[in-house]
């Protein structure tokens, strides 16, 4: 490699590795949030690049809504086992049993409650830094968030009072009880993620690729039929060729119609798509223009 062949992916990769090493070196008890989704799988590869030949100096943590696609959970467990890294799973069900989450309808989307279990998990293990795979291109509120995002002892984000972030010099200091969320792939876009998956030949859950699936149409969305989502009277079940651009809560993650069966074909589709990733797939972000900002203020990552 010469200075002239240092591509944007190389630049992004090196930046992310640098960030992860800063976290490992300066934070006392960090964790890497890992869901089995494509962005967190990229994070895992970046962590390998940052720390091999040693083990990761932090555990992997997943907050399970129990509304996840089974293929994603299987991938999560497989990748953690293949790498020989420690995986901690905490479930929303535990918080529901404890009474810290009260859910009216167990089949409704659970993303708003994830923050509660995440904060409980942070307290249980005393994590002072949690690395997540969020990207600034995903959403307007994310575009304004720092790479090292300080949270108070209630896990809350104050967008008007963020620490200035200059050069690549990160301020990792927190008082006891406070923590930071760190987003090593802040500057990556959806396209960068797919290009990296293709370049690194990363294994991702098969539901990211086109497959036949039973769906129903509700409003403007196509919703996958599952044990949580059954057709209401009058709704018709169709079988379409679809893929998922994001793999969140099964009750509110919509697939897009697609025939792209590998990463290269997805790159081609992504370069011509006219809808943002979240706009196409996350029904919970469409409820108000500020949904993500409000959730983040409450401790969502």
């Amino acid at each position: 490699m010469t200075a002239h062949t240092f591509t944007h992916l190389d630049a992004l990769e090196s930046e992310s590795i640098h960030i992860m090493r800063e976290v490992a070196a300066e934070c006392k008890n960090p964790a890497l949030l890992f869901s089995g989704g494509k962005d967190s799988i990229v994070m895992l590869r970046l962590a390998e690049k940052a720390f091999r030949p040693a083990k990761f100096p932090f555990p992997l943590v997943h907050i399970d809504t129990e509304h996840n696609f089974p293929e994603v959970i299987a991938t999560r467990d497989k990748l953690a086992a293949d790498l020989g890294e420690r995986l901690i799973v905490r479930s929303l069900e535990d918080s529901i049993k404890r009474g810290s989450i009260v859910i009216k309808d167990p089949d409704k989307p659970r993303n708003p409650y994830q923050s509660v279990t995440l904060l409980e998990t942070i307290a249980e293990f005393g994590f002072d830094a949690c690395m997540g795979g969020a990207r600034r291109d995903e959403e307007k509120a994310r575009a304004k968030e720092r790479i090292f995002s300080f949270r108070d002892e209630f896990g809350q984000w104050d967008p008007k009072n963020q620490r200035p972030e200059l050069w690549d010099i990160y301020n990792t200091r927190v008082h006891a009880g406070e923590n930071i969320r760190v987003f090593p792939i802040s500057n990556w876009t959806e396209m960068d993620i797919w290009e990296y998956i293709a370049r690194e030949k990363l294994y991702i859950p098969e539901i990211y690729y086109a497959h036949k699936r039973e769906v129903i149409r509700r409003g403007n969305s196509v919703i996958p039929v599952s044990h949580l989502v059954q057709p209401k009277p009058g709704e018709k079940v169709e079988v379409l060729s679809v893929r998922f651009r994001t793999v969140g809560d099964m009750t509110c993650t919509a697939p897009v119609e697609s025939c792209a069966s590998n990463a290269q074909e997805i790159i081609e589709e992504t370069s011509t798509t006219r809808i943002t990733e979240r706009g196409a797939t996350r029904m919970d972000d469409q409820t108000s223009e500020a949904s993500m900002e409000l959730r983040k203020k409450e401790g969502y990552f």
Binding site: T7, S14, R163, E165, W167, I169, N171, I275
Partner: protein, 417 residues
């Protein structure tokens, strides 16, 4: 090489009145980086506010508080791509706290686009933006003379503004400025050349952004390698492995090169350059790698590797810097602060304030205090020696942040002079 796209980070400086948001909106729109759902959301909002056309500036207003008040409160980052390059735009608001926000966004930028309203010409704020860009060492400056439609696309008007601006920039030692006439509103000279400015022979803004040479924005001569993390796997396979992980901030290194570890001054030779993708013979900035050495010497995080005998940095406990104060709480000369320089954190004291710079007139004033947005030359002392380069020579080893120990806030940004 053919498929390799580079990453260019740039910022825009100017107020809403100069058409800054319209310019960004136009770049995103005309490069087809705005998505239908985003366009539909801002169309609805524009309609709700009773606007006749879609307000592209709404694209860059991220937070609820901002949308309600129609203001921008912080730095936001936008992304777009063309087949040639990927772009990151650092979008900063143009009003109060401007210095703080612009310095923050400019610190990582390859290029700044300074916007001027063709009717108003070079204003105080143009001088301020240019001074801040030069202070933070942004390698490339584009002067976008916008609203040319409002002055009848006059070549004479453009030339007069350019002459005045170049004269001012020269005082700051800036000679490399690209000046482009444009109308962001009508799309002239942003992505397409358009017909209205046919007298201008240069390239449209996007064309320039795609082609400006940025390979030499980093210092390619002086090897600087701050150690981030010492890797000791202690497994059977890697029983004796001791790797020094970090990012090459500038220059290059090859297997066999002799290095000096600062501040201790001990020397050794590079044995291996290890990466996940295999061992390398040679590595360049800004690669993140792992180095192993021929000798076992005491090295920890915060130490810096440099090539022995080649243009070494100063290793000092007392030095001067240009400081931009970022915090609402003013500098307290009686207190100790923490500075983070590369991968090292040390305590520091500010021993003397040389002068404060008026960012509007560039005049120097004697001062005994520093408030938010102030820029001053200061003398400082640190507890342990640091390996320092002049900021003008090296952005990575010439910069530091100041942290308030009591609040843990980042309160200032510093540049070694």
């Amino acid at each position: 090489m053919s498929n390799a796209t580079q990453l260019l980070r740039f910022i825009t400086a100017g107020s809403v009145d100069d058409g800054k948001s319209t310019l960004i909106g136009r770049l995103l729109h005309d490069s087809k980086s705005i998505f239908e759902d985003q366009l539909s959301a801002i169309s609805k909002t524009s309609e709700k506010r009773g606007m006749a056309a879609v307000d592209l500036s709404l694209l860059t207003d991220g937070l609820q508080a901002e949308r309600e008040q129609g203001i921008t409160i912080d730095v936001a980052y936008r992304y777009f791509a063309t087949p040639k390059r990927k772009f990151i735009i650092g979008d900063t608001p143009g009003h109060e706290q401007y210095t703080r926000n612009m310095v923050t966004a400019a610190s990582t930028a390859n290029l700044v686009v300074i916007l001027i309203d063709a009717r108003k010409g070079v204003l105080t704020q143009t001088r301020r933006h240019t001074y801040l860009a030069s202070l933070v060492g942004v390698p490339h400056i584009v002067l976008a003379v916008n609203k040319m439609d409002m002055v009848g696309y006059s070549e004479d008007t453009f030339n007069a503004i350019v002459a005045e601006y170049r004269a001012f920039a020269a005082q700051l030692g800036i000679h490399d400025v690209t000046c482009i006439p444009m109308s962001a509103l009508n799309g002239d000279m942003v992505v397409e050349h358009g017909d209205n400015l046919s007298w201008y022979k240069g390239a449209p803004l996007l064309d320039f952004l795609e082609n400006v040479v940025i390979d030499y924005d980093v210092n390619t001569a002086d090897f600087r390698y701050p150690v981030q993390w010492v890797c000791r796997p202690q497994t059977n396979e890697y029983h004796d492995f001791r790797g020094y992980m970090g990012r090459i901030e500038s220059g290059e290194i090859a297997v066999g090169d002799e290095i000096t570890v600062l501040p201790s001054g001990r020397t050794s030779k590079v044995k291996e350059i290890v990466t996940y993708d295999g061992k390398l013979q040679r590595a360049y900035a800004p690669q993140s790698v792992t180095l192993t050495l021929e000798d076992e010497i005491d090295i920890s995080r915060g130490d810096m590797f440099v090539k022995s005998g080649v243009n070494p940095p100063k290793v000092e406990k007392e030095f001067e810097s240009m400081l931009c104060w970022l915090s609402e709480a003013p500098l307290d000369l009686n207190r100790k602060y923490i500075i983070k320089h590369t991968t090292r954190m040390v305590k520091c004291l500010f021993s003397r304030l040389e002068y404060r710079v008026d960012v509007n007139t560039l005049a120097h004033h004697a001062t005994d205090k520093l408030n938010m947005n102030d820029i001053a030359r200061v003398a400082m002392k640190v507890q342990q020696p640091l390996a320092l380069d002049h900021y003008g020579k090296n952005r990575f080893t010439g910069s530091f942040i100041v942290i308030d120990e009591a609040t843990n806030n980042t309160v200032a940004a510093g540049m070694i002079v």
